[in-house]
Symmetry: C2
Subunit: 80 residues, 2 copies
């Protein structure tokens, strides 16, 4: 089954990439944007078919490889 | 309100980054992974408080700036 992992910077960590996107949007005329923060997204297909076991596996992958837990948070969701 | 945009490569487009992550996971002992595909994630805070209008705005932003519609798909979700 497919499980998605979303990795975002913690709230207090500066996000220069997001800031640049925000400025660009402002220049393009999108004036109603308050903040943009960029994150990473992974779609991981695993052999496991039990949702909770599959999520556990992807959580393990996030902790060990994909996320830097000092500055990032992760969120695991079932891919719709 | 906060709206999230997830941008993924279309199914037929090669994803070398995802492939490298898959290989790395394999080397780390995660043998139950079938495929990894990487995407981009944006959390956009807009002034608009009406969910459907806010989503429409973020969709517009995806089309005009964030996504390359030739090779990428986007998905708009309300941030939980």
């Amino acid at each position: 089954m497919k499980i998605s992992a979303i990795i975002t910077l913690k709230q207090d960590v500066l996000d220069p990439q997001g800031k640049v996107i925000h400025q660009t949007l402002d220049g393009m005329g999108f004036k109603d944007v308050k903040e943009v923060r960029q994150g990473k997204y992974f779609e991981i297909e695993v052999e496991e078919n039990d949702p909770s076991k599959a999520k556990k596996l992807v959580e393990d992958i996030c902790k060990k490889l994909l996320a830097n837990l000092v500055i990032e948070n992760y969120k695991i969701i079932e891919t719709q």
